[in-house]
Symmetry: C2
Subunit: 320 residues, 2 copies
């Protein structure tokens, strides 16, 4: 028997972990159930510190997350983790989360780890991440780590649903240089050179530091560069201090409010665009004039760009 | 001095390679120049055979493409290659194309290889791929290979801009089993077990074949499973025969027209959605009522889903 969304909300607010898992599945699936659940729980959100963790595959993000959970738990705070993989139906998103889950937080009721993979349309996982974070917030998790598998466009978008973004690099990978070149540095609030026991770790760290010194910043925060060895826990205490310091900075400077406003604006635009696309797909199937337009394109009488311009005008005029 | 789009079109149609390279850059950048260029060249498109090549990283897609170019060139046809990487700003899309370019087709004027990486928004690369293919078609390339780096959602979408999709697997990777499980098999018109000299190649091939025998197909094409060794060229002649056979099948059965219609429909929906999103982002910045809505969301008085529903209604009523 299907339990009602109302019961689900109540159970989640009461701290029931199964309800939380269930609620995240509901928002992952999207649709009106997802919207209804978000509506009923929205007033309980907004207090957690959202931390995005991103970097190339192989730099040790999962191990870093594991060590960070242990560190944060020392302070008694509740930690939620979303391991998000927008990319591959082959590798799946489950791998990350499972690996962490096995490493000893299973019995800790103040830790909740969840993997999310992309089984929906483009844009869908980003929107689902916003809502999954909300479920964790409503369940009173204090720090929510959003880990992405790689540093692709969709992963960067997901990492940027966070308040604080940690960019993880490793020595000798050339990622540091690439990061500097590609302008990806801008997204990092905190830099971690992981696997800091490998040769070249300090060199990497100082290169990043110098490149940051040359950068201009939109606000008064100077991103720290932390050398860490996640396996042994070295540097993880500094990372946690930096995270707390950054959250404090965000709140006191008013940057938090601005960032969250920008995020809400981006989410709204995506929500509306996703719905517009859906409306459009439905109306295309049933519209004779759209079907005629398609024929004309196939006959090379009209090109798709001209056709799209016409459709836009119709679309924005049509409903009254 | 900037040359005009008109000159660019003419030069491209006259077979000028630099103009072709330039035109692809224009459509990659998007905007009104891209639209204008597509409009002026659209009537020259639609004749080429578009072949998508996808599969996990490491299965040897680039080497396969290289061998396939050599094979196709024996028949005198012109081959265009788009190596598309929607995922990573770190690895970049250039790697693939560069690797192929070095392998001996550089001096062959009937081969054109181009890498495209995702430096724009989500969805943007898919749309740019449609248009880049059009530039190659207008320049009279007969076969256009569209290679993607991985098998993520965006890569699958890109591979499916093709008429024929080749799914590349390798023995012992577990990808064959994963592919069967994940339902990804459905997208393959031709299967290649690459690195066919590795142990287990024939076993992989027969597992795929059995799983295909259990599948139902939307049309009368039974996907062949080809064991190939791209390094030595083994199996590449069968692959090329299968490609030609599939193209013939598509044309004679009428499936080609249906697929192209579906593709145009998908492209139109994406074009309109992309433009709707852009309009929305612009109007949000300047709209007092949207700014008030954002404040209400931040104050937890309205949730984003309810807000989006309201905006949708306004949007579809607003312009007259």
């Amino acid at each position: 028997m299907k339990i009602s969304l109302e019961t689900l909300s109540k159970d989640l607010l009461a701290g029931n972990r199964r309800a939380l898992a269930r609620a995240i599945s509901v928002v992952e699936d999207g649709g009106s159930d997802a919207s209804d659940l978000v509506k009923s729980l929205f007033s309980y959100t907004g207090r957690a510190h959202l931390v995005g963790i991103t970097g190339s595959p192989g730099v040790g993000k999962s191990t870093l997350v594991d060590a960070l959970i242990t560190e944060i738990r020392k302070s008694g705070l509740k930690v939620g983790v979303l391991a998000v993989d927008p990319s591959s139906p082959f590798t799946g998103g489950a791998i990350l989360g499972d690996r962490i889950r096995m490493q000893g937080h299973t019995l800790d009721k103040s830790v909740f780890i969840r993997s999310m993979a992309n089984h929906n349309q483009a844009g869908g996982l980003g929107l689902a991440t916003y809502d999954a974070v909300r479920m964790l917030e409503a369940a009173e998790f204090d720090v929510i780590l959003i880990e992405t598998v790689g540093v692709g466009q969709s992963e960067l978008a997901i990492a940027q649903t966070a308040d604080t973004t940690i960019l993880v690099l490793m020595p000798g990978s050339g990622d540091d240089i690439q990061a500097i070149k590609s302008g990806i540095m801008e997204i990092g609030d905190i830099f971690v050179v992981n696997k800091g026991d490998l040769p070249g770790a300090n060199k990497s760290a100082s290169e990043i530091t110098s490149s940051l010194e040359l950068s201009s910043f939109a606000n008064d925060w100077r991103p720290p560069v932390i050398v860490a060895v996640s396996e042994t826990g070295q540097g993880i205490d500094s990372l946690w201090s930096s995270l707390q310091e950054h959250f404090k900075f965000l709140k006191e400077s008013g940057v938090l409010l601005n960032r969250r406003k920008a995020k809400v604006q981006a989410e709204l635009a995506e929500l509306v665009a996703a719905r517009a696309r859906e409306n459009l797909k439905n109306s295309m199937e049933s519209s004779d004039s759209v079907q005629q337009l398609l024929e004309q394109i196939l006959d090379k009488k009209v090109d798709p760009h001209t056709a799209a311009e016409g459709l836009i005008q119709d679309l924005f005029r049509a409903r009254d």
